[in-house]
Amino acid sequence: MSDATPPSVRLRGLLASAMIGTDRAGSGTAGTENVLTQSAMLGMQVRAGWRPSTVSARFSLCPADTRLVAPPAASATLQHLMANPDGDLIEEWAELANARRLRVEDATVPVVLDWWSRQPHRSEAVFAVLGARGEWLASLNAAWRKPVAGSHVPTNVDDIWQTGTTPDRMALLLTVRRHDPGRALLLIQSTWATDGAEERRRFLEALIEKAWMADEPFLEAALGDKSKVVRRQAARVLGQLLGSRLRARMTERARTIIGVESKRSLVRRVTRIGLAPPKEFVKEWERDGIEEKAASAEGPRAWWMQQILSVTDLALWTELSGMDPAGVVAAIRGDDFAKPAMTALVEAARAEKNSAWAIAITRELLARKDEDSPDLEWVWPILAPAERETFLIEVISLDRYKPIARWEVAASSDHKWSADLSMKVLKLLKQRAPKKPEDVWALSHAIARISRCVCPNPASVADAFEEAVSALFTDATPDSFKKSIDRVRLRADMHKEFSL
């Protein structure tokens, strides 16, 4: 090779003998030394003479963000959170920043975006705090593009709908549904005739969020679908849709079940409700999603009744008995079918999001001391904030609980508590905490959840939390509880950092 050959090519040329070894290349000791010397020389030449190539690719500029950067202490806390990600706290940080129109430090945006994009449930608050910079970065990185796209309705909705995979279509449907419920229905209808049964079922399932009367005719028609899973799903959605014809039919059926008898005792009128479940299964019920075969150990009659009452308008009970919700649940008490009826009422109250009924039903369920504590998670979202707080204190102040149950109930309210409620709960925790060590240990999960609910502002709540939790133990607080204390402290610090 001549000296005009570039050194990089000449270095490559040495590989032939270097790869198989100078022994097999037959170059001997002098040859070995020569290969090494040549490599040293050429390697040096390559490095010294390395020339950059031209790169014309260019990014778009990041759009300006007029929000100010969060204060340094808050930014440091976010970095700390990103080193040990805790979804709730990151979301809380984002909410605090959003409320003050502050943004994330530029160099931290990709770290948060990357974490966010890998979450199964992606918080809108976190995405919002990343702002235009987050969207800009996502446009440059394929791994982030898709999750971010899920936050916007794309421009080529119809293309994706017609050619996408089922998960892509589902994601698209949910996005469209959030922004434009009517358009989501049109999408489903546009390919309804050719989509498979399982796809159709999943599409209907997506309608349950934001179901409205515009969906009703389509859903009613779907009750006659050739696939059973689709029919069932349509019935489920219609059952949740107030004003649907399915609910009207169910309410009519319930009229024959709910019987009211009034007796005059010595002092007052007593109204009792007698439940008369259907004696026979009516074939046409099937179309409305009522199952003939009982799913539980209760008899088939109780099962049919429960299914009907679950989608019956609550107003019917009031209309027939002339009583308020508390009166109705009291009047059912003692009936042979009270238990399935109460189960149905829970479902009905959930569907109607009726807080008066929810409270009355919960009080009745909790009044049965013989039973385990009922699951109350469903109640809290139905109640308005002030109502929720009053009711939570009422419920956990009862005496009925086994040692840990009270705190599990308190923790079942996943909302952010007011300072007032937080202090009340913590006071109660000090007074009525379980005593037996094994019970105390079993509290760890509930305490962890409570640490996410209590109000971190003012900081005195954090002090009260630490005090109440430390008081559970005579000696050192164990790690799992310590973590909860740290979490509340961190939240309190975070709030303070933002108000500086």
Binding site: A40, A73, H80, P110
Partner: protein
């Protein structure tokens, strides 16, 4: 004693996560029993254990000690305490040192005194020239034995071929590297330890391995005839072989007075040994300087010039043909950085590479060179990522940087526009260490691994 600022404390943190954890602990609420004396601060921090952790900081060094079990050093408690002290010194009452502080401080003072005594004794004692010469001769003997051994081994590798070398198991390279360390030639050991990495580096591994072996050969050649080399080249060869020069000897020399800009800092290595490189650029002299600090095991890295600052002072360079490593001899004033480096920056990639080529020509064992590139942007071309200058030329970025969140931090900091970037150039790939944006915001620890 210097005043402590949060930035200075952060500069001591072993990594970004520890710094963030320290910041989270820098709140008065986390601490009880805070106090300070003339040379120390201390406090109690309730950790997960029964007893609160006792954190204490000797402000003169600073040195840290904490009763927590963390293997990071300094731990978040020490950092948090010192950060809190930097923010709210008034929160620390001046009282008598509690016993657990006093004992530690006394122990440290004792050690320091003994060290001074030893140093004094060493000075007082007439240097036993003969014994010293004997020691040096003994090491030189060992090193030249090592060179001979390495030569035989290297030729053996070449005779059997690179294809065979690639099938060799990792322990074989480590064995020979350990023998080089034992023979006091750690520079050779370092090069040998890179061989298995390069063999496994994917496409192009063959040329890279051949190149590395060539460099090793060049170093062996120099070692074999060190007496015949020009004295300054011999110094570079000895440094590459692993001879150290004591800091005290270096500090005796005359340095370069300038306005020094700290452009970036990177801490590498884990458990056994952490290495910190801090890169500086002199405004008037246009010189580049590197501060190299080591910390073994639980030792803290000594605080050095805070990254993102600029100071007037004198830096003395270790001798060599293209001096790069330096020590701060004196420092008069310190201020926030002004990102406009003027002519001290490399105006283009071309200019930076010229500086590199010149330095490489002077010291062929140079492994990495700082490019201080003004007005570069990040760009992607195909699968490769580049730093691109205003002339449109691109430097490829190191894959480890591209694979980490660091690349995206840099892109985000750039907003798609240009930055001033300090990158380490190894002749093939660039590793960004620090960046400034036009509004003077400084990202000084881009390459340090972001724990997420």
């Amino acid at each position: 004693m210097q005043t402590w600022t949060p930035e200075r404390v952060i500069a001591i943190a072993p990594d970004a996560a520890a710094a963030a954890a320290g910041q989270a602990l820098a709140s008065a609420k986390k601490w009880t029993g805070k106090g300070q004396s003339e040379r120390a601060i201390w406090g109690l921090c309730q950790g997960s254990g029964k007893e609160p952790y006792q954190a204490r900081v000797d402000l003169t060094e600073p040195a840290f000690k904490c009763s927590c079990p963390s293997r990071k050093f300094p731990c978040k408690h020490g950092l948090g305490l010192l950060l809190l002290f930097a923010k709210e010194p008034k929160g620390f009452v001046a009282v008598a040192e509690p016993e657990w502080v006093a004992v530690w401080i006394a122990g440290r003072a004792d050690k320091a005194e003994k060290k001074v005594e030893r140093a004094k004794a060493a000075v007082d004692k007439p240097v036993d020239v003969e014994a010293q010469a004997k020691r040096v001769a003994a090491r030189e003997g060992r090193v030249s034995d090592a060179i001979a051994m390495c030569r035989v081994w290297l030729e053996d590798v070449m005779r059997r071929g690179l294809a065979k070398a690639q099938t060799e198991d990792g322990a074989a390279w480590e064995r020979i590297a350990t023998r080089m360390v034992d023979a006091q030639a750690p520079g050779l050991a370092g090069m040998i330890r890179r061989i298995p990495e390069v063999l496994a580096s994917g496409s192009g591994w063959d040329v890279r391995t051949l190149d590395l072996l060539g460099r090793l050969h060049l170093l062996l050649l120099a070692g074999e005839r060190i007496g015949d080399l020009p004295p300054d080249l011999a110094v570079d060869a000895r440094t590459a072989l692993g001879w150290n020069q004591s800091k005290d000897d270096v500090l005796v020399g005359t340095g370069v007075d300038d306005s020094w800009v700290t452009m970036g800092q990177v801490v590498q290595g884990e458990d056994r040994l952490r290495v910190r490189r801090t890169w500086l650029v002199g405004r008037k002299s246009l010189r580049r300087a590197m501060m190299l600090d080591f910390a073994a095991g639980s030792q803290p890295l000594e605080p050095c010039v805070p990254a993102g600052s600029e100071f007037e002072g004198e830096i003395v360079f270790y001798p060599g043909r293209a001096p790069l490593r330096g020590l701060v001899k004196s420092k008069t004033s310190e201020r926030m950085i002004d990102v406009d480096l003027g002519p001290a920056a490399d105006a283009s990639i071309e200019e930076g590479l010229c500086r590199y080529a010149e330095a490489l020509g002077a010291n062929p064992w140079l492994t990495c060179w700082p490019l201080a590139l003004a007005n570069v942007r990040v760009a992607q071309d195909g699968k490769r990522w580049y730093l691109v200058d205003s002339e449109g030329y691109g430097l490829p970025l190191k894959q480890s940087f591209v694979d980490a969140m660091q690349l995206w931090r840099l892109i985000s900091a750039s907003s798609g526009s240009v930055l001033t970037v300090l990158a380490e150039w190894d002749g093939e790939r660039a590793l960004p260490i620090g960046a400034f944006d036009p509004t003077n915001r400084v990202y000084h620890d881009l390459a340090t691994r972001w724990v997420a």
